[in-house]
């Protein structure tokens, strides 16, 4: 399609602005992490890997990162079945009170995180499970669940009901029908959703703050707590390590399923 020049200009103007908006802090932080100086500056004040050395030494950071990974994994592992089932149910079936259920399922977004955090602190407190990591994982799952549900509905609504009937016709009983046909068909949505859930859980701070104790701090909480007087470039270095992990994960995802799935509702 031949696009008019003015259309390209306008669209690119918006996109370029958006790109700058999105990436500027990342680039600055990335550059600053290699500074040889003691403060985060850009362009960096000399080049060195000393802050990477510093974080490599910090075992508490490593442990916190590990815990964050665990929390994010728990969150994702719970979100996948819960969100997938709910998304498919909402997209494929006529559900009574669907609108109310949707408002209910959006509660995680309409309740401020502090409210969610306090609420869950009290609930988990009552259950006497605070201090463990799995409640944090569940909490991260709950507060971001709408993303998972949304991603799955977006895929599932384009799923033809004939596909399941065809599977039944092929002799597949209900469970295998679901596992072998329905699930693979909504897989792009499930992957998109899981990735978002994982990332968001990895970064979750406010709610985790209320649910962890000193023995179970996660990385974002650890970072927040450690900057009580002065912010040093080790934080930039941590961010870069994070970005590198993310980049790796994204590259892996691209290899496995192709990034284009995010753009398809089918």
């Amino acid at each position: 399609m031949i696009d008019s020049r003015s259309k390209s200009i306008v669209i690119w103007a918006f996109v370029a602005t958006a790109l700058v908006m999105l990436s500027a802090p990342t680039i600055v932080v990335l550059g600053a992490s290699f500074t040889a100086g003691n403060i985060i500056t850009f362009p960096p004040d000399g080049l060195s890997l000393k802050w990477y050395g510093a974080i490599a030494q910090a075992s508490d950071l490593r442990q916190a990162f590990l815990r964050s990974l665990i929390v994010a994994t728990i969150c994702t592992v719970i979100a996948i079945p819960a969100g997938t089932l709910a998304g498919i149910a909402l997209a494929k079936y006529r559900v009574r009170f669907a609108r109310s259920i949707q408002i209910y399922l959006l509660l995680p977004f309409t309740i401020p995180l502090i409210g969610s955090g306090i609420g869950m602190m009290l609930v988990f407190g009552q259950m006497n499970v605070l201090g463990k990591l799995w409640p944090v994982g569940i909490a991260c799952c709950v507060i971001n669940l709408p993303f998972m549900i949304w991603a799955v509905t977006a895929s599932a609504s384009n799923l033809s009901p004939d596909l399941e009937l065809a599977a039944a016709n092929c002799g597949a009983p209900p469970l295998q029908r679901f596992l072998y046909i329905t699930l693979p068909a909504v897989l792009p949505g499930v992957i998109t959703g899981s990735l978002l859930m994982f990332i968001l859980a990895l970064n979750e701070f406010l709610v985790s703050l209320l649910l962890v104790d000193a023995r179970s701090v996660t990385l974002p909480v650890q970072i927040y707590n450690s900057i009580r007087s002065i912010i040093t470039p080790d934080l930039a270095a941590i961010s870069v390590v994070f970005i590198a992990c993310a980049g790796l994960a994204i590259a892996l995802l691209d290899r496995l399923v192709g990034l284009d799935i995010f753009l398809k509702s089918k």
């Binding site: 958006a18 149910a89 977004f109 309409t110 969610s116 990895l202 941590i238």
Partner: protein
């Protein structure tokens, strides 16, 4: 007699057992209940929040006694009265509401062309680049990101320095209302783009060609064709952006320079600074109410958008 494993693989045996279990747990005569069974885990998970809301609801009906720092034994509506009467809360609520609406509009304004280009570009390299650019900011914590902004937009930051070169004296670009809105837009942009993309993908390119052949320039094609047809995406993305920015805490705290509190910041203060859980609970509940009503109104006016793409239902 049992067939050999080659004839009857292990996975089949496992599946047969699972299938029998599933049939026991949920006999096919319960078919009608199936969607509700499928919704159950999500409903239960969100139910944790609802349990929390009950606790918060209870607290909202009690006042703080500053001689003992305990909550009153008896129930009262005093907190609600305070919230509704003190102008401070009205200021903060107004700022959050207006802010979240502005943020939603601006975010969608930028997310739309971004998603459009990402979906429509024939170059898969560009598409991947745009997608990666969307995800990476997630990985820089709020605090560090704010520091990044300080380096760029601070009084002695890169932008002001650049402006200095053309003789403009440094100006305050951070720690005000626009900075908060800007931060929220930046934070929300990836979510909005990701939610818009499937909706835009669903619009056939041919409709745009058709509009062009019928005499519509691209602007009018956007206005009359693409925009109306991407409504499910816009509604879905809009709902997410408006609710998340309305209830956000971190960005007003970090980029507002302390003077641009949103409701969530006021709630934080009550819970954490003045130990007045009653008042904090009241504010939380009212925010939930406002948010849910907003969502309900949007659902009524525009449908549920991509949050539950209508599709062909069975």
């Amino acid at each position: 007699m049992r067939a050999s494993p080659a004839a009857y693989p292990l996975t089949w045996r496992v599946m047969d057992v699972l299938e029998r279990l599933a049939a026991m747990v949920w006999p096919s005569s319960f078919q009608r209940g199936l969607p509700y069974l499928m919704l159950a885990p999500a409903l239960v998970l969100v139910g944790l929040l609802v349990l929390g809301l009950f606790q918060i609801g209870d607290a909202s009906l009690r006042t703080l006694d500053t001689t003992t720092f305990l909550m009153s034994e008896s129930y009262t509506l005093a907190n609600y009265q305070r919230v509704l009467s003190e102008s401070f809360f009205a200021t903060v609520a107004g700022r959050s509401l207006i802010g979240s609406v502005i943020v939603t509009v601006v975010t969608l304004l930028f997310a739309f062309p971004y998603a459009y280009l990402m979906v429509r570009t024939p170059s898969s390299a560009l598409r991947k680049f745009l997608l990666v650019a969307l995800f990476l900011p997630f990985f820089i914590g709020q605090v560090v990101r704010a520091y990044g902004w300080l380096i760029i937009l601070g009084n002695q930051g890169m932008v002001n320095e650049a402006l200095g070169l053309v003789g403009v004296s440094p100006m305050r670009l951070l720690y005000n209302y626009p900075a908060v809105l800007f931060g929220l837009v930046q934070y929300m942009l990836p979510f909005a783009v990701l939610m818009l993309a499937p909706a835009l993908t669903a619009i056939p390119t041919e409709l745009e060609s058709a509009a062009a052949s019928l005499g519509a320039g691209w602007v009018r094609t956007f206005r009359h064709i693409v925009l109306p047809l991407s409504r499910p995406g816009l509604v879905g993305a809009g709902l997410v952006v408006v609710t998340l920015s309305l209830t956000d805490f971190a960005i007003p705290a970090i980029l507002g320079g302390g003077t641009q509190d949103f409701i969530a910041n006021a709630i934080y203060d009550q819970f954490f600074r003045t130990s007045d859980q009653g008042l904090g609970a009241t504010l939380s509940l009212m925010l939930v109410a406002v948010g849910s009503i907003l969502v309900g109104v949007v659902f009524m006016l525009f449908g549920a958008g991509t949050l539950a793409m209508g599709g062909e239902r069975k």
